[in-house]
């Protein structure tokens, strides 16, 4: 068995998980396993080191925080639970991942931390979390911290963190669109999520599949705030992302479709 040389740690609580994780050096965090088990089967699992199994760490709670629509989602909450929630646009993104069985096993923490694959981007929930302005509570070097999902995704590659929970505020309006291949199991070629909160906050727009990790599209947001039409604002996206070729779609195709996807998502946002 190829993965037998990894030492398996199974903490029984979140506190034990944090302690076992330490600064994260030499640790592979094992959440739902839908990404890691195929890596083991393909002989690509990290050799040696330690594997932190989170299935008994009690990180699978979904809690309402107060009455203002803020929800704390434990890192081990399965996508099936999100798909059935009314937490949009996250629920819409979760409903499109894999199939019933995959969604019941895959977790939000795993999706957020999924490294890009050689053949395609991963992490189809990332754009939705960015659009919602989600906050990530994580542990690792220098202890626990809470930061925006944008900062979390932008951290340096050698800084490994243990995600404990993700906090989101339910937006007043949300929309989500994706460009998919006709197969239940491929990652989306591109995803676009939009959200607008109460108060005078503007529209947040994010896209996945246009970079190794999903990105917030600040230029599009600024254009919207300045009164540009959805179509004109969407065109700005190509100034801030540089899509690449992969097995799912070519860079040319992505550049041509992205503005349309954003325009439609913005139309959906205003309509709904």
């Amino acid at each position: 068995m190829r993965a037998s040389d990894t030492e398996v740690l199974t903490p029984g609580s979140a506190a034990q998980a944090v302690e076992a994780f330490g600064d994260g050096r030499g640790i592979t965090v094992f959440a739902g396993g839908t990404i890691l088990m195929p890596e083991i089967a393909a002989g690509r699992y990290p050799r040696g080191g330690r594997t932190l199994m989170l299935d008994r760490a009690g990180l699978d709670q979904l809690d309402q925080l107060g009455g203002d629509g803020t929800v704390a989602i434990g890192a081990m909450v399965p996508l099936s639970k999100l798909a059935g929630s009314r937490i949009e646009p996250l629920a819409a993104a979760a409903r499109e991942v894999g199939d019933l069985e995959i969604r019941a096993q895959a977790t939000i923490g795993g999706n957020l931390c999924a490294p890009p694959a050689a053949e395609s981007p991963r992490g189809d929930l990332q754009a939705a979390l960015l659009a919602m302005g989600a906050r990530v509570r994580s542990a690792g070097k220098a202890g626990e911290r809470t930061e925006s999902v944008e900062d979390f995704l932008a951290r340096s590659e050698d800084e490994t963190r243990l995600v404990l929970a993700i906090e989101v505020d339910k937006p007043r309006r949300a929309s989500y669109l994706s460009l998919r291949r006709p197969h239940a199991h491929s990652y989306a070629a591109m995803t676009v999520a939009c959200a607008q909160n109460d108060g005078n906050g503007g529209v947040r727009v994010a896209a996945g599949g246009v970079a190794p990790r999903a990105k917030r599209l600040h230029g599009v947001e600024r254009a919207l705030a300045e009164g540009a039409s959805g179509e004109d604002a969407a065109a700005r996206a190509l100034d801030e992302v540089d899509p690449q070729d992969d097995a799912l779609a070519s860079a040319w195709y992505r550049r041509n479709v992205l503005p349309t996807l954003i325009t439609r998502a913005l139309e959906q946002l205003q309509g709904g």
Partner: protein, 178 residues
């Protein structure tokens, strides 16, 4: 560790990150879950973990301490002990080469258990959307699951299944398998 499969507890010596599929087939000799893609994309290794369908190739055996695993061997055996889905697959010619059949049967059985009664075509398509069949074109499989959910597992009753009920929602065809 110990693993409960089809009501029998087995001591397991495979390492913790070994897939349930590998443990079932190679350590325990339970071979109804088939090895297809080994990446969760084909569905043929699907078994039940505490009654819910799971890809045996994606489940690390270490996560199953205290769980109840059910494979096709635990669902029913011919000639007299077949479960309704098995009877319906047999009567409705829902298997051709049979390689996807074990996974289809487990997922379909779980769907019928969850629903507790007749299921719509749309529900069956959703429940089997991760199960790939390269022979049948899925029509007879879906018909068989609907038949089983209605307790109509006799071959004479299959023809009427082709007519959808007036109350049935329109099917939005999307992704595999349709």
């Amino acid at each position: 560790m110990e693993l409960n499969v089809n009501g029998v507890t087995h001591p397991i010596s495979s390492s913790p990150l070994t897939s349930l599929l590998e443990v079932l087939r190679q350590e325990l000799g339970i071979v109804s879950p088939k090895v297809g893609c080994r990446q969760g994309a084909c569905g043929t290794c699907t078994v039940l973990v505490d009654g819910e369908p799971r890809r045996a190739c994606l489940v690390a055996v270490a996560t199953l301490q205290g769980a109840e695993v059910t494979t096709l061997e635990g669902l029913g055996t011919a000639p007299d002990g077949l479960a309704p889905v098995q009877e319906a697959f047999h009567a409705g010619y829902a298997a051709q080469c049979g390689y996807c059949t074990p996974g289809m049967l487990m997922a379909a059985h779980a769907l019928i258990q969850r629903a507790g009664g007749p299921v719509y075509r749309e529900q069956v398509i959703e429940a089997l959307s991760g199960h790939i069949c390269r022979c049948t074109g899925y029509v007879k499989i879906v018909d068989a699951v609907i038949a089983a959910s209605r307790g109509q597992v006799d071959s004479a009753e299959f023809d009427q299944l082709l007519r959808p009920e007036p109350s049935e929602p329109e099917i939005e065809v999307k992704g595999s398998p349709a």
